[in-house]
Symmetry: C2
Subunit: 408 residues, 2 copies
C-alpha cells in the first residue's frame, strides 16, 4: 500500500500488484514494456526469476556445442530493469495458490498479486520413453548447456585414455528446430575438438534420430532436403522414421531393435509446459494452457500466461503455434498494453501473432528458412538468422543490449 | 647395415645399432646428445616413443589443474632431432626380448639392437590400495592430465545441475612433490572455475591425504611448515598420518574409518618402474633396476637404463635417489658420452648425480626449495622454479625450445 491511498481514504483502491513469474522472453518483455508504459506508483510490479540473469533460449544450441561462450548468451536481469518501477526477486517458484492469489518460493517467501503473469517456460517432454529423463541431456538453460559442453570435452579427453568408441558417439534425439540447430553446431565443433585432443576425426560419430518421417516436420521439403544435405556433408548421420524406444546408461535402443552405444544422448524431441501450471490446477494439454485471446487462463481474469506455457491455435492450420521466442515476445508486448489498459481503464486488445519468418541455423554460414513466403538458403539465410537474433536483443534490451551481445 | 661395411668386406663390423626406448627426459637427452657427438654412419640410432611428442613431466600438475595449456607442456620429438642421425619411430613397446636383442612394438613391428637404452618411465604405484587403479586419476601423461582437467570442469558444470557436494570435493592422495604441486595449482584454479560456473567458492573442498607423518617427506621441517601454511590459506585441508584404505566410485575410505565422498580422486602417492622392464626378466625393486655405475642393467653390458626405471643408491643417505627429471637428464648426458666411447673405443665414465637443488611449486608466486644448503621460500623460490624449468628446456632443445615454451 502506498502513502497516497492512506491519505485519500478507503475509496481509493490500493496500488495494483502485478507479479510476473519467469524472466524468459515472455515475462521479461512484459516487464520491460510495463516499466516504459506505466508511471511510478501506478502499479507495484515484481519480476521473479530462478537466476539473476535472462538467457537467450534460442541461442543455447551454440554454447551446448561449445561454439559460443555461455556468458555471451545471458544478461543480468537488473541491467534491463528500471528497478524503481520493477522489483526483481531472485527465487524459484514452487507453487501457485490461485484461491489465495499467492505464489510460494523455495526460500519460504510468499508473494501476493492482483494480476499474475506466468512465464515459467517449459520442460522436456519425454513421451514416456524409458530412461530419457535419467540418462539424456537436454538443452534448456545456461547450466544445462554448460554441462553438455563440458561433458563432450570430457568424453574427448577420456577417449584418449580408454579408446572406447561410444565416448565419441553423439546421439541427438529429435530433428526439430533445436535438434537440427544443435547437430549443425556440433559438427562445426568436432574438428576443433579433434585437433585439441589429438583425435582422428573419423572416430567421431553424430547421429540425429527422429521418429517422424522427416527432419524439421512442417517445413517445406525443399528446405528439409537442403538441410539434410548440408548436415550430412558435415558428418551427421540421420535416422528418420526411427523412434527411440529406450535410453540406457549405454546409449539408445531404437524401435527397430538397433542399439547404438553412446555416452552422450541429447534429447531435443519436444517440450511441455512447466509442471507448476498443471499443479496449480489449471487445465492443460501437455502442460500448456489454452489461453483466451487476451492470454487469460480460462476462467481467471487475473491470471495471464505467456511463452511456452500458453497454447494458441493457429486458425489457418488448426494446429497450435509452436512455442517460439518470436511469439513470446509479441505476447509480452500485447500483455503489457492490456495490463496498462486494465489499470488505467481502457479496452483490452486480443493477441494476434504476426509470423515474420522462421530460420533454422545449420552451423557456421549455413541456414534455411522461410521469410514471408520466400524460401531462403545458405549464407542469405545465415545472415537473416543473425538479424532475427539481434532483433530479439533489441526488443528486450534496446541498443545497449545489442551492443553487448550482438551476433556479427 | 650401411654401404661402407659391404665395400670393406666382413672384417669391418656393421654399424652398431643403438635403440632408445622412450622419449622422456632420459631417453630424449641420450638421443640429442648422441646426435651431437657422433658423426654420420658411426651408429644407427633409433628413438621409439608412444607419442610423437615429448612432454615435460615435471610441469604436468599445471595442465592437470587447468592453469596451463597442455600444448605448452609438450614438443614434437622430430623438432628436437637431427633425423639424418636419429630415426624416430612412433610406437608402443610391448616386449623386450633380451636373448634375441629384440624389441616388439604393438604394431607388430620388431626392432633389433646392439645397445639398448631403456627410458620407459614409470607407472603409478598403488601399494595394493583397493580400487585406486580403477577409480583414481593419475598425473602421468598429456592424455591423463587433459582427462583430469576436463573431468574437473565437468564436475563444476554438473554440480550446477545436481547440487551434490561430492562433485566439488577433490581428493589428492599423496603429499609428495606431485601431490603438493598439484593442490597448489588446483587451489589457484578454483576461484576461476567458481566464477566461470557461478559456484559459491565455499562449496569447493580440496583434501590432500598423506600416509606419512608429514607432507613432503624428506624435506626440511621449516620448508614443510611454510608449504602447509601457504596451501592451507589457499583452501587445502591436509590429513597427514592418514593412509587411504580404499578408493571406491563414491570416494575414499580412510584407515581411521572416515569416508569422504568425492567424484575426483587423484593419486600421486608414488610411482614404480614400467612393468615392461620387469616382464623382460630384469631384476627389479618396485619395477626399478638397481643399475651399475655405468647405468647397465646388472649382467647386461648391452642394456642401459635411464630415468624412473633406474635405481641408484645415494651413499650419503643410504636411500635411493628419487626419480627426478634432473637426474634423468644427467643420466642421458653421461650415457651418450659412454655410448660414444663404446663405439669409438674409450674409457667409460661412471654416472655421478650432481644435485643442484629442489624446488616445489605451491601455485602462483609461491614455492619452497633447497638450493645447495640454502632454504628458499615464496617469490624467490617461485622464480628459481622457473629457472629450473627453463633450464631443462635448454638442456633438451637448446635456445629454440626455450623460446617456444619458456616460463615467464
Amino acid at each position: 500500500m502506498n502513502d497516497k491511498s492512506k491519505e485519500n481514504g478507503s475509496e481509493k483502491m490500493s496500488t495494483p500488484k502485478i507479479l510476473i513469474l519467469g524472466a524468459g522472453y515472455g515475462g521479461l518483455m512484459t516487464a520491460v514494456r510495463l516499466q516504459k508504459q506505466l508511471n511510478y506508483n501506478e502499479a507495484e510490479i515484481t519480476l521473479v526469476n530462478k537466476h539473476d540473469y535472462h538467457y537467450f533460449t534460442t541461442w543455447l544450441h551454440e554454447p551446448a556445442a561449445g561454439t559460443k561462450d555461455p556468458d555471451q548468451c545471458r544478461v543480468e536481469i537488473v541491467d534491463l530493469l528500471d528497478t524503481s518501477k520493477v522489483k526483481f526477486v531472485k527465487g524459484t517458484v514452487t507453487e501457485i495458490k490461485r484461491e489465495e492469489k499467492q505464489v510460494l518460493l523455495q526460500s519460504g517467501e510468499s508473494l501476493t498479486y492482483d494480476y499474475l503473469v506466468i512465464g515459467l517456460g517449459s520442460e522436456p517432454e519425454t513421451f514416456g520413453i524409458q530412461g530419457l529423463k535419467e540418462h539424456a541431456f537436454s538443452i534448456r538453460s545456461i547450466n544445462s548447456v554448460r554441462e553438455i559442453r563440458e561433458h563432450i570435452e570430457y568424453c574427448f579427453a577420456k577417449y584418449k585414455m580408454e579408446k572406447r568408441p561410444e565416448l565419441l558417439t553423439f546421439i541427438v534425439g529429435g530433428a526439430g528446430f533445436t535438434g537440427i540447430e544443435f547437430v549443425g553446431e556440433l559438427s562445426d565443433r568436432v574438428p576443433e575438438l579433434c585437433k585439441e585432443f589429438d583425435v582422428d576425426p573419423s572416430v567421431v560419430k553424430i547421429y540425429n534420430i527422429e521418429a517422424a518421417p522427416t527432419v524439421l516436420p512442417g517445413f517445406d521439403p525443399e528446405l528439409v532436403n537442403y538441410a539434410m544435405e548440408v548436415l550430412s556433408r558435415k558428418g551427421v548421420t540421420f535416422k528418420i522414421s526411427t523412434p527411440i524406444k529406450e535410453c540406457t546408461p549405454e546409449g539408445v535402443v531404437l524401435a527397430d531393435g538397433e542399439e547404438i552405444n553412446s555416452t552422450t544422448v541429447v534429447w531435443t524431441g519436444g517440450v511441455r509446459g512447466n509442471a507448476i501450471i498443471e499443479n496449480a490446477g489449471f487445465e492443460t494439454m501437455r502442460g500448456r494452457v489454452k489461453v483466451d485471446p487476451y492470454l487469460h487462463a480460462p476462467g481467471h481474469e487475473d491470471v495471464f500466461i505467456v511463452g511456452d506455457g500458453a497454447l494458441i491455435i493457429n486458425e489457418e492450420t488448426d494446429r497450435p503455434y509452436p512455442p517460439t521466442a518470436q511469439i513470446a515476445i509479441q505476447q509480452g508486448e500485447n500483455l503489457a498494453q492490456n495490463l496498462t489498459a486494465l489499470i488505467r481503464g481502457g479496452e483490452l486488445k486480443p493477441f494476434v501473432p504476426a509470423l515474420k519468418g522462421t530460420v533454422a541455423s545449420l552451423g557456421k554460414g549455413e541456414a534455411i528458412g522461410l521469410v514471408g513466403d520466400k524460401k531462403i538458403f545458405g549464407s542469405t539465410a545465415a545472415l537473416m538468422k543473425k538479424v532475427i537474433d539481434n532483433r530479439s536483443l533489441y526488443m528486450l534490451g534496446g541498443l545497449s543490449l545489442v551492443l553487448k551481445k550482438v551476433k556479427l
